[in-house]
Subunit: 369 residues, 2 copies
């Protein structure tokens, strides 16, 4: 029974998920079609394969494979920031329109980040950033300092999973100061402090200009706090979900309609056996299959379904300059359904636990023909 | 090869572990003899069985069973604070010397705490506390406020796993003010703030008197911080390990020799299948099998093996008034050995992951004949 003043449907144009992990092999075959199942038509794909994607040839091949698996989805691609990634690769990638950005992983903070960089000193990459600024490519930052090994020597707490993002923020400020025209995205931000900084950096821009610094927000960080991953590895990801006031700041930013905040699910599938372990649980939450439904739950609870189009599409398309004509329309409509415990491929060789297994979602999607 | 100035052996009299979970059934048969294997001769046993222990008959039966399983170990017993526990039960328990204390679990914070109490209002138990004060029984507090359901309404963060102990501390202060002669132990304390409060409450006591408020400290909280349980369910327990400055405060208190701090392992065995789950991981770390070896690692790193006897025995025996003659002597000696991945019973029906599986410990124990 629906109340007569309740919104029953929300029509969305060209929904974008600006941070997607679709992996390779059997996992890729399973999850890539689910980008569309989740209500998303444009996906920005992360390059943290093994080995990471650092050449134009490889990114072109990877895109072709994804396009084959999901012909109706538009895949935007990225390169992995590493010493192999020279300014020449950037210029070549731009010339053949292979990528929209370059992803920077601090070494050792998350899945396949072993070959990442030292966020205490980006100077070796300044020629690459120069080339990116010139070519109009976006810099995507995993904004965490790596945890201190053991205790710090001093009186403080060093870097831990709770303050790793906050401790990274000065590096973001410095990068923006050094490359004021380089578009930068602080990916999957999790703290009130990060939201505050992204807003502050945008206040320095003329009000009719587009943002130069933006942040993506995941579906799960709109819903979780530290208590949700303590004892529940299904909810463990990096950066970890923080405190209630952080979650509230993320919800407020996402539903505000502000141009500098848009959706990036950081959907990160891991085989179930890597999530049910007593040690070394893989960091990552798989949200792709129900991406828009999770987000709709949050926007509805805030009474802000009116700003959903901006968060899941307009702000991203404008920032990434992929606006053009919207070709795909999806309808979110009210329907209760239970998230399965596992999402499995036909040959039963790969299973992934989706976010909120066994819980009821209140929205489903259908594509317009 | 040992350095000539290195301590090679530490002889300890009557080591005590003042917070032990030994369960029932097959698990009890497996872990109870391991109290002695870990170097402990006196163990204070927790009453959170299913159903909880609230009668004198049951505690006497339980002690008899434990004594049968481990005849050389002395078991001190406790009752579970609940509405069924009347002042009459307290007087009877004291008369027959069945227990040394009463354990208070806030409802819903840890294993088998469903029948716990509301720590926002202890007033219904004041008659019980009166009886305990009169009889000289100890009140053992699991010092956490239960987490807020969802977000709090206000601007703050409500109660979460990180601040749950700190938020409990005013309740401890009030109990001590209302029952100044009731001996209280803040169990398995995890924060610098808790250490500070216990010290402060003891400064109010004449310097030649014994402490009225004490705290137990576990082996694992001397070794872990939040980063160690994020993604590693083997290290997940309640209260959760906190930040580096908290850990340093615990190490400093434990190694100080101060009478108000002593060892309580909170060793909490769970079947391995309850630790390797993607949801609902059991809270608890199994340290019993190598209890003194873990603690010795910490004391040696601080150069304080000289205070180990106080922490693992003297302070506890004095506080609990079980000093008497020390009948058991254990020698900690230098020997490298690797902690197994699993501890399993003979019939292979129960397996438990010990703390620090696969890691090397540098101390082992042998009992004097």
């Amino acid at each position: 029974m629906s109340r007569c003043d309740e919104v029953q449907e929300v029509v969305l144009q060209e929904p974008c998920d600006m941070h997607v992990h679709v992996r390779e092999g059997a996992m890729c075959e399973l999850v890539t079609p689910m980008v569309r199942d989740g209500g998303v038509s444009v996906a920005y794909v992360m390059p943290n394969l093994q080995p990471p994607i650092v050449t134009v040839d490889r990114v072109v091949q990877y895109r072709a494979r994804l396009q084959e698996l999901a012909p109706q989805t538009t895949f935007l691609m990225s390169l992995y920031l590493s010493p192999e990634l020279t300014p020449e690769v950037i210029h070549e990638a731009a010339r053949v329109r292979a990528v929209h950005g370059v992803k920077c992983y601090p070494a050792g903070v998350t899945t396949n980040s072993d070959q990442g960089v030292d966020p205490n000193d980006f100077s070796q990459f300044y020629p690459v950033f120069e080339a990116m600024q010139e070519e109009g490519l976006v810099l995507n930052l995993h904004g965490e300092k790596p945890s201190s090994k053991g205790d710090c020597d001093g009186e403080g707490d060093g870097i831990n999973v709770l303050n790793a993002e906050e401790k990274f923020l000065p590096a973001l400020e410095k990068l923006h100061a050094d490359f004021p025209k380089l578009r930068i995205v602080l990916e999957h931000c999790t703290t009130a402090k990060a939201i505050e900084l992204v807003r502050k950096l945008n206040q320095q821009v003329p009000s009719d200009s587009d943002p130069v610094v933006a942040a993506t927000i995941t579906a799960h960080h709109l819903l979780l706090t530290v208590d949700d991953w303590a004892g529940d590895p299904v909810n463990f990801c990096k950066p970890v979900a923080k405190l209630s006031h952080d979650r509230r700041a993320l919800v407020s930013a996402a539903t505000s309609g502000e141009r500098c905040f848009f959706f990036g699910s950081d959907s990160a599938p891991h085989p179930v056996e890597n999530k049910q372990r007593y040690r070394g649980v893989s960091a990552g939450i798989f949200t792709q299959r129900y991406a828009l439904a999770y987000v709709a739950e949050v926007f509805e609870a805030q009474g802000r379904l009116d700003t959903l189009q901006k968060f899941v599409s307009d702000n991203a398309r404008r920032f990434y300059r992929v606006a053009g004509e919207a070709k795909n329309t999806v309808t979110l409509y009210r329907r209760d359904h239970v998230v399965p415990e596992l999402v499995t491929n036909n040959s039963q060789t790969v299973s992934v636990v989706p976010f909120m297994p066994g819980e009821t979602l209140h929205w489903d999607i259908r594509w317009q023909k």
